[in-house]
Symmetry: D2
Subunit: 372 residues, 4 copies
């Protein structure tokens, strides 16, 4: 095989598949390369909260509008992707309750509470909605627009829809090398050679590999997240509850997902006993009745963390044909649609909000590395 | 524990759970006993077609209207159960194509084609809708109202909704003995004794046990059905296709379910190599491109078959407090709502169509056994 | 089917399969009925320690010699069963260290330490053998003869060997009813009727059902045990370690099994979050390095507990053709060979140690129930 | 991390782990890098036959003695590795029957039958040993020394033993780049940089990547092999049976492994329906009773094929510090010990049979590529 494509995407997680989808919709000739199976790594490990509010730590100027636009895109994607691919992405309303146990917690919520879409509920109001939540609460910030989806279903629905629209997907095809050749790039995988005008690096924490190959000295740090799921026989929980980076998400199959630990620099994709221990302790604090629930499953994934915990989305500083869409840290599922749209617009040279370009460009802080 | 209930249901498959749901909605005090886990036996093995038309072999007077009313109930249940329990039952439109390879097949479809909701498509029309279907076709009967659901999700959604409405569910609680005591019944399980005014026997092919205990000489024959699922990477199939009791059902998770063999009197719930062989051969005949698809999973379940392949739904001939809801053969998922409603109406002494009562009563043919 | 057998065994766990094996070796015509799959319930949940010493709480007159004879039988069975069936039962030496953290623990070990096969190791000697064991130890009782096996492999090896020697095994065949008929018994299963001279009730905690049917007022209480396994990448542990009914068993596939909780009267065969929590806490106390190990799997099973925690092995008090072999509590795997041999000897009217007959007969304490 | 090692091994399959083991035994300071988990790719998909005879197609001068020496090594490794690591490698005798259905098949066996360790059995003699084998046979070549092992257990036992002897194992650590630096090599993984005097490329079909990086124009072709396993309830089979590259291997857990298809240039590691179809058809031809056996599992792996189907074992033609141990095609498990020993001897500059060096060197045919 020695095919030519307009765009080659490296990485078949939710980011890469969203990009493939939005480009295929524009009739671009797209190829996506995934070393393993579509959505089988960090994507499948995600909780699936679309926490535009709950994950926003104070940046209401740039990050929040970007996240909101992405969250909003999902409300349309659920029909659009189902229509095309037959997939159900498990879009589930309910909202998120960000719990406060004390005044300090409440202060931490102050900025988010200033948003019109968020309101403070005191303990009684929280427990009216969720009677089994801890009685040690002060109250909670209620973000009614923060919904959740099934991450693996989102990713596979993007992939299949892209394919139906003409994209070429290559699973079990790790990309080994990218070489410039005249005005395009030669991509060598374990299985083939292809040529592409544009290359998008979108393989999460493993993108670091290509940074160096492409003359950049950037780093992504893995932050391992461990999760477990339990069987909620009594339909205890209606809302996602959230405290201190931990969450309990109710799914539309009767399960609660409890996540997630934050282990920096651990590349091992298995769950440790100490991680389980932490998750159980934290879950019991938020929702004491989980202690009696039955364990269903457990898993882990690696979040790609940048220096400022914002993603890298944009062109290579010197090589316009190369683009990055990685480093989404805790927010890959949430930001996938907006990232896909932004990469599409960059490639098609459409207008994009300048503050997003500036905020997410890869060279926003670090100087360029001298080329080899 | 020695609790009292108005109704005790034996069996936590889709039939028992539907009954529990419809009774709990009427504020009846209901207990359901399942020897294993909710929905873990035949229910979880079902394909999930709501084939009111495709499974109807000519009985348009009684069986078909009953099946249609049940099929129709699903279109409301999908919201109702989701609202109550948070479950998504995977309701998926698309319709069923019952294939005809030759005139003899076409003749077999004649009676169904007389229904106004069914139409004949010739080969070109079929392949316009489903380009990958076998080119050896003559055509197909298209039943656009025959949709599909996820059986295990339906069953768990009924169960959890019933529980939320006040029903008591006991998993891992096989019922061992039913004894009459004054005006009610003592039910002994491996784990408890309870008392109930009404007892509903709804545990599929294993109901035979209770027939004998209850003075009836009826038999249910197991008809094992083996299935497999494959990954349909290219979203080949939009409709369920069906021929000669075999089917390929597209699911909303990118899988195709291929079913099902018909092995009489085999109680072994595992899949045999010869069953796989048959399924693959049959699937290739219907949809040649399945040969390249990747195997995802395989499983089997036991259909409970009565002498005339119609279910037993109704009172014990001599003991009004005992009811039966079993023997649903290939149609447990399809008929679950109508069965739940009928049992509810029998217990609450509401009006029911007399022809349904007559068609499904357990003593419609066989004489009573002398009591022990 | 209406076959005749000399012996019908109810229950395809390790006890029933051992009995089938020892009877088949004597050319008895044996049938075994299992409601599910061979070895799929409590047997598969067991840790597999052959803890003749470690599980013996002071009864050195009767229980200990019985347990030792059974433990000894395994040293021969490993070859015998492998030769017949091709199965490897995973017999693994190493011995058990019963840990003492303080003088009170040590006192609890006094009686076992009086045995010539057990010796006291002080902290240094323990940590020389097992460097990663807790440094808070006082020492440990070392029982070098207490080895371990793979329970499911033992059970399947017994079953297959019995079958090769002529026994008939019926899986997916729950026994529903036992009726006396002249000099034999009619056994009705969901799938068939058979006749047998002798019936052995050996289905663990579910045997209670038959007690009542057979005129006995005995009870078995389920004591749920939850377990987990971890990947011991560094081959940390050579010996089984044990404290306060919890244990960590190294397996010959690089896993450590951590067990087991003791939850009375819980029939639910799933693992609870609180059970996981307890196991992790306990394991960290014994072997702090487990915290970093990776979780592999988790499961639970129901131990059948009698009033005095000794099994019921012997004839029905009034009906010689009925025998019991159940209630093995924590010791099913350990006692399976000796139980199989004892039932064989009772049926064949061979000589048996009288103190074993007396200690294990079902009516050793409770009076008979009046027959229905 | 920036550690220095004497040897860095790329690939944690059975070949890499064997090399790590034999080097660690010599107290070499070894690091092994595996992109996924130890033994999780082609190794775990192998059948585990040690078919020195059955896989030998006529090369009795060089390949056969090499394979025999490796097969012989296993008879010692089983104790050695168990003693060190606690692992049981599932070494199982029984021998292999290479079936002949007709004279043409028999002619194909002529050369192997000339070996003193192989004998011809006519149909009656075959069916005396294996009564259920096809009755269409002419006879079989019986290779009594060809035994089998559990591939994943062998690999993990090598890995853990190596670790106990001091080797460093890095899972989830794909190697991205090898750079020469003075007299050693810099190895960059996704997770670290290390320095090593010697680098051994041993990652199967994915080794091609490094060939090019290291200036070689060699290719490994993937030949996908699909397998399934069934439950042999009746212990039908004692010997491995083999015909036309297909085999049925009895395992010591009551399963039969049926393998394997030969799909060239397919990198997709999933099992296709057509593969299942082929395996079932082939298995029924060899052992008709498999049709009734129950399916247990299915899987696939990629065999690395060289131009002449012999492995590449030896030094880089120009760069002595780089070694190759890959391309073992159908014989990775069989040849792992001999390969580990040969790489050890090459690094330690011990004497090796010259014909092995010549037969397996990577430049035995192809010219060198010009360096980039």
């Amino acid at each position: 095989m020695n095919q030519k494509f307009e765009v080659a995407i490296i990485g078949g997680g939710v980011i890469g598949c969203s990009i493939a989808y939005y480009l295929a919709k524009e009739k671009m000739n797209v190829a996506l390369f995934e070393g393993n199976q579509i959505g089988s790594k960090s994507t499948s490990a995600a909780g699936g909260m679309l926490g535009a509010h709950s994950e926003c730590d104070g940046d209401f100027e740039v990050f929040f509008p970007f996240a909101r636009s992405s969250q909003y895109a999902y409300s349309q994607l659920k029909e659009e992707l189902n229509h095309l691919s037959g997939f159900d992405i498990g879009y589930r309303k309910g909202g998120i309750l960000k719990l406060a146990y004390n005044e300090s917690d409440r202060n931490g919520l102050r900025s988010i509470l200033s948003q019109p879409t968020v309101k403070w509920l005191d303990k009684e109001a929280v427990r009216e909605r969720e009677p089994d939540v801890s009685s040690n609460l002060l109250g909670a910030a209620y973000m009614k627009d923060d919904v959740n989806v099934m991450p693996i279903a989102v990713c596979q629905a993007f992939a299949k829809s892209a394919q139906i629209l003409g994209a070429s997907l290559f699973e079990f095809s790790p990309v080994l090398d990218i070489q410039k050749k005249d005005n395009s790039f030669l991509i060598q995988t374990a299985t083939s050679h292809v040529e592409a005008k544009h290359v998008v690096v979108a393989n999460g924490v493993w993108s670091t590999t290509f940074f160096k190959q492409l003359g950049l000295d950037h780093q992504l740090t893995p932050v391992k997240g461990e999760c477990l799921s339990v069987i909620d026989e009594k339909a205890t929980l209606k809302h996602t509850i959230f405290h201190d980076h931990y969450y309990i998400v109710p799914r539309n199959n009767g399960r609660l997902v409890i996540g997630a630990t934050m282990i920096e620099n651990d590349w091992n994709e298995r769950v440790s006993l100490s991680g389980m221990d932490t998750l159980i302790a934290k879950a019991k604090t938020m929702l004491p009745t989980v202690a009696d629930m039955k364990l269903d499953s457990f898993w882990a994934g690696l979040r790609p963390q940048t220096f400022d915990q914002k993603p890298f989305i944009g062109h290579h500083p010197e090589e316009e044909g190369i683009l990055f869409a990685t480093g989404h840290y805790r927010n890959g599922i949430l930001l996938a649609p907006a990232t896909g749209q932004m990469i599409r617009d960059l490639i098609l040279k459409r207008q994009i909000k300048n503050e997003w370009v500036e905020a997410f460009k890869i060279d926003r802080r670090q100087p360029l590395l001298l080329r080899r």
